[in-house]
């Protein structure tokens, strides 16, 4: 068992002639929170989509726990232990909050057509265990009282948290979070900060975090990778990134860099 859990190696992808990612490398060690930042259009979400199997890179490889996952179906990669959340809400609208959480256990359960349709004993036991686990997960994120609500009745921020819990309940080794802080108030942001830390510290889950809320990134990430226009322009600790010339330029432009450094 090596320390590196996820390894992206020299990934290239073009869409209709546009080079979206050019030779991206990214490593994530077990139990770390790795930030993935960069200006809009840098290719961050595309990189996540490649890792989780939605896009296939023209060149390069992605290893999860030493296994190459390029070319596998997203559902297969998910079953190997990779979870993800999305920029836009992806709650299942026809389900309650509790049911949304229970479905996060899909990859760890096995009831099929016949045992479910005939309500066999094994299936009933599995269902009971799933419900209990889902209620525990809701308690973990402090939302027990919302269990029976329709998923769509939650606020945007609440949906975010439930989505994270839904991904975590499947016990993944690694979770890709695509801008979890978008649209959250300052209070909610602090809660999210605490939640992500608890996920890493109590559950030992590796996190890859795309985020524009720089304060959150600098606060909780162990390592940060910076993309700009499809290239990796920096990689290191938050402190190193904060003082990196190239990063400041990419974010602020050359003029503002001078003011930033003066302040």
């Amino acid at each position: 068992m090596s320390a590196t859990l996820l390894s992206v190696r020299d990934v290239h992808i073009t869409f209709g002639g546009v080079r979206v990612l050019e030779g991206i490398d990214l490593d994530a060690s077990r139990g770390e929170i790795r930030g993935l930042i960069g200006p809009n259009g840098a290719g961050k979400t595309t990189l996540l989509n490649i890792i989780c199997g939605i896009h296939r890179p023209q060149k390069g490889d992605v290893l999860l726990d030493g296994i190459s996952i390029v070319g596998r179906k997203p559902s297969e990669i998910a079953r190997l232990g990779l979870g993800r959340t999305f920029q836009a809400s992806q709650m299942f609208g026809g389900m309650t909050v509790l049911e949304n959480l229970i479905i996060g256990l899909h990859r760890r359960t096995s009831s099929g057509l016949l045992s479910a349709g005939l309500k066999l004993k094994r299936h009933r036991r599995e269902e009971a265990e799933m419900e209990e686990a889902a209620r525990r997960a809701l308690a973990f994120v402090g939302m027990s009282e919302l269990a029976e609500r329709p998923a769509t009745a939650l606020s945007f921020g609440q949906q975010r948290v439930v989505e994270i819990a839904r991904t975590l309940i499947g016990d993944p080794m690694i979770v890709l979070l695509d801008e979890p802080a978008v649209g959250l108030s300052a209070n909610r942001l602090t809660e999210l900060d605490g939640l992500l830390r608890r996920i890493r510290d109590q559950k030992g889950v590796t996190l890859i975090l795309i985020e524009h809320a720089i304060r959150l990134v600098m606060d909780i990430c162990d390592q940060v990778t910076v993309l700009s226009s499809g290239r990796r322009i920096a990689d290191g600790t938050p402190l190193a990134i904060r003082n990196d010339r190239g990063v400041i330029e990419a974010y602020l432009g050359k003029d503002l860099r001078a003011r930033h450094q003066a302040s």
Partner: protein, 336 residues
């Protein structure tokens, strides 16, 4: 506490369905049998369209395949009904599984069109493969006998249909309130998110097509025995519209809704049979009303006004049943 819960209402309907036939005339029994057959069709179609969200138009064809297979295995190969009937259902299921393969690549309108094309092709085969299917004129099936049971054919077939419907209704109810049913709803509500949770789209779309094919195949076999006759026109586009309206009127994504929809549509069609022309008008008007004003169908209105009609997508354990109430009645944050 909840005298008009779904369970109680459906049990009452079942009691009537069991007790009434000895007092019914031949025609009423025929209509009742038709309702029971359409209940099967509507449940199967609702699993595919209402739960899995696949807008497919092949159910009438699979109904026809079940009827033709059951009939032809008896007529052409001399099989007994009791062997031909289950075989027909499994053949329809296999066809359902086969058409799910292109369905993985297609969605929405394209899926609708390709399954419609499949249904038309099936019609064409029924019509033109005359050496096997007897063409446009159709064919008579051998008379069905329930001997040695002391029961007439209409009554025997009715109770057989009813027993199968009740069994397959319960199977469907268990299925949708399970890991499998939730996976189907997840595929309907968000394919990308479903995949990210490890749900294999192909597997669950194929499962939905296979289940609906099996239900339609069972219905087809019973239908061929009910009419003692099989012909292509029973399985045309109007048949598809009929089945779709049942799940729209009853309620998309509701097993109980499919039962109500099948009952209402068939009884209405029969009641209006005397007034030719009015049938289409009332039928079309009903569809427009439901599509415009009652999207969730009849069952959504019932759910809003009557307790005990909820259809959770999980198994509510009898011992754990009070649990949600415990949570509801806990003092809210403001009270503490």
């Amino acid at each position: 506490m909840t005298p008009f819960s779904r369970r109680n209402v459906l049990l009452a309907l079942l009691a009537i369905a069991i007790a009434a036939p000895p007092f019914a005339n031949f025609y009423h029994l025929f209509v009742a049998n038709l309702v029971v057959i359409y209940v099967l069709l509507a449940i199967g179609l609702n699993i595919l369209v209402g739960y899995a969200g696949q807008l497919a138009f092949a159910n009438a064809a699979m109904f026809g395949i079940g009827a033709y297979a059951t009939g032809l295995l008896q007529v052409q190969l001399g099989w007994s009904f009791w062997l031909a009937f289950p075989s027909g259902a499994f053949i329809a299921m296999a066809v359902g599984l086969a058409i799910s393969l292109p369905a993985l690549r297609l969605s929405g309108l394209y899926l609708a069109l390709s399954t419609l094309a499949f249904a038309q092709a099936t019609q064409w085969v029924f019509l033109h493969w005359e050496s096997v299917t007897f063409g446009a004129g159709g064919f008579k099936t051998p008379p069905l006998s329930f001997a040695p049971l002391p029961i007439t054919k209409p009554l025997g077939l009715y109770y057989l249909s009813l027993a199968l419907s009740v069994g397959l209704f319960m199977f469907a109810q268990n299925l949708v309130a399970s890991r499998v049913g939730r996976a189907l709803v997840a595929v309907r509500d968000g394919e990308v998110a479903a995949e990210s949770l490890g749900i294999d789209l192909l597997r669950y779309k194929a499962l939905a097509f296979g289940v609906s094919g099996f239900y339609a195949g069972i219905a087809g076999g019973l239908y061929s025995a009910l009419l003692n006759f099989v012909a292509p026109e029973g399985f045309d586009l109007f048949q598809m519209v009929l089945q779709k309206s049942m799940i729209v009127v009853g309620g998309l994504g509701s097993v109980a809704g499919a039962v109500l929809g099948a009952g209402i549509i068939i009884v209405l069609l029969e009641a209006l049979r005397a007034f030719k022309g009015l049938q289409e008008i009332v039928f079309g008007g009903l569809l427009v009303i439901f599509v415009l004003f009652m999207r969730g169908g009849l069952v959504s209105v019932i759910k809003r006004h009557v307790r005990g009609w909820e259809e959770p997508l999980r198994l509510v354990q009898s011992t754990a049943a009070p649990a949600p109430e415990v949570i509801d009645t806990r003092p809210s944050v403001a009270d503490r």
